[in-house]
């Protein structure tokens, strides 16, 4: 069972060495070297630097990722899969065969470059109608797949939609489909229940403005969490804090769910399965189970934050003056 907390994936360009050097200081759960976002004519310059950049990403306790393209799969994988890499983001697989090909390419590079076999995970970004349509076979094609999300911008272009920020054109099918298919993946298939969901709420999902206000990012992350997403790509360091907070159960939620648990336990003790909870409401087993999950999620978030704080403190001390 592979469980993790990854609320913020800070993306930086491998061609901006200053951003890369600085990335570990922003408290992101993951840092992503965005090779996919590098224009074609510059990719040749970006690929050779990835290997050197990987070790610094994790100094603040973040997981290290490289975002690669299906279109340049083999060239990108060869440049990305080196020790220190936790996983790749892959844009945009469309079929199970695509994912199998990526799995094989990554496996090959693990063997050549001395990376633990099977250790590199895959986060899939779907950017075409075909990919969304085939989502079930795509996300179950390899045990490396831990997370899936939509690349709204690419998907809207593929669909030929000129989107207005007022109305989410992907809401009724693509996002719902993604959440249900991903959450419904059999736990026996990959050793963990479901596939995590990556995405922030619309319109930031389609128009990810780096200068969005922290409050806008926070609200969008909260809506995404309520829509069953687990974390989001952050195009700017200012997004990291709001995403970390937005995807973490709040203190109020924690207090509420602790009260649910206490109420339910007290009811059980006198043989009741449905226990009054005030205002005409009741709690029963599913409420109790949800409370357990939310409390556990908060605990994992707190542990992750402590882990990163400790890593940053250590890295800070060893920093040359």
């Amino acid at each position: 069972m592979r469980e993790f907390i990854r609320r913020s994936y800070l993306t930086v360009s491998p061609l901006s060495q200053a951003s890369v050097d600085d990335a570990w200081t922003h408290d992101a759960d993951a840092v992503v070297l965005d090779l996919h976002g590098v224009p074609y004519q510059n990719k040749g310059r970006a690929r050779p630097v990835l290997r050197e950049q990987l070790p610094s990403l994790a100094k603040g306790g973040a997981d290290a990722f490289v975002h690669i393209s299906m279109a340049y799969l083999h060239a990108d994988a060869e440049a990305a899969v080196w020790p220190g890499l936790n996983g790749i983001l892959l844009s945009h697989p469309e079929t199970a065969l695509d994912v199998l090909e990526a799995d094989a390419a990554v496996a090959d590079m693990e063997k050549r470059h001395g990376v633990d076999t099977g250790s590199v995970e895959m986060v899939l970004l779907l950017g075409s109608a075909k990919g969304v349509w085939n989502i079930r076979e795509v996300i179950t094609a390899s045990p490396r797949v831990t997370t899936v999300g939509l690349d709204d911008t690419s998907l809207l272009a593929d669909l030929g939609i000129l989107a207005s920020p007022d109305l989410d054109p992907l809401a009724s099918f693509a996002r719902g489909r993604l959440v249900m298919e991903a959450a419904g993946v059999d736990e026996n298939l990959h050793g963990h229940q479901g596939v995590y969901r990556l995405g922030i709420a619309y319109p930031l999902s389609a128009f990810p403005r780096p200068d969005a206000s922290p409050d806008e990012v926070l609200q969008s992350a909260k809506i995404a969490k309520e829509s069953v997403f687990n974390g989001a790509l952050c195009p700017d360091p200012s997004w990291v804090g709001p995403c970390n907070r937005g995807f973490t159960p709040t203190d109020e939620q924690l207090a509420h769910h602790r009260k649910v648990q206490e109420t339910y336990a007290a009811g059980l003790a006198i043989g009741r399965g449905a226990v009054p909870f005030g205002d005409g409401r009741f709690v029963e087993r599913p409420f109790h189970e949800l409370a357990k999950k939310i409390i556990a999620l908060r605990t994992m978030c707190d542990e992750r934050d402590a882990e990163k704080a400790a890593a940053r403190a250590t890295a800070g001390r060893s920093r040359p003056a």
């Binding site: 009724s172 719902g176 249900m180 991903a182 419904g184 829509s227 009741r272 029963e284 599913p286």
Partner: protein, 316 residues
Amino acid sequence: MEVNRAALFMAINNPRFIEAAWSRGIDGAILDFEDAVGEPHKVDARKLPGEVYPQITKASAIIQVRINHTYWAADLEAVVWPGLSGILYPKTESAEEVRLLDAKITELERLRGMRPGSVGIQPLIESARGVINSFEIAGASPRISSFGGGGGIGVDVGRDLAVEIVTGFPRAVGEYGAEGELAARALGMVVAGGARVGQGPGGDVVSGNTAFDEAAANRKSGFYTGRLCLHPNRVDPMVRGLTPPEEEVEEAEQVLLRFEELDNRGEVEGQLNGKTVDKWEAERARKLLEWADACAKKDRDKAAAMERNLAAAKGA
């Protein structure tokens, strides 16, 4: 046509609720063996159907039982007896599970001399995996006559997805409701649930205030199915809300007459009191009248039962 506008939900082992059920004006009862019955009480609960069923049927009400997903075989042995109308099967995730359930019910119907196929199955979809397998689940047994639950967005899906069901619970759940309704309509089934009835805003299950409006909205959208009531306060408003009022029945009769005239003249469309009448409107009117008839019959049966039960209570 089965009329079950308001089904009162009760733990099978709560005698206080069961004994009063006949006086509540219910169309049906859902006797729970699942979450409302504590784990240590489940074995004893299985001994109860013999004494509980007559207390429900004497009110001319339909009996459905919510069994445990985990203990389905033991529960079926205990509950499939004459008087039972259907099984609610919680946390259904695959067609295979439904086929197993169907086979066991068939065996018990044969052993216990019950009409073949008389016990229905209502799969309850309460997890992401259930949602994505909706179509094959809905088609897995001829005992399933209604499916879906746009209104059934319950805490169980939240439990599965580890999110709170908050007001306006957004997008993903639209997909959840839509998937079930689509499967039901594609298979020609009744869409279970319809608009959300049976639970007020903020999870309030006691107040009857909103129940009437919700039920009426359901009926006006063409959903002639009720939902469970977690509290007796909601029974009467839901029964009234789902029953077509006299003026709507009269209007439907006029629509049918008007359409007949048009049809005889070879026309496809006309007007009645400023509204368009065509074959779709006629079909809607026909369904409404059929539903109104069925409701009226149910209400007569219930009234007769109530009279008998009141007399018996006085005599006792």
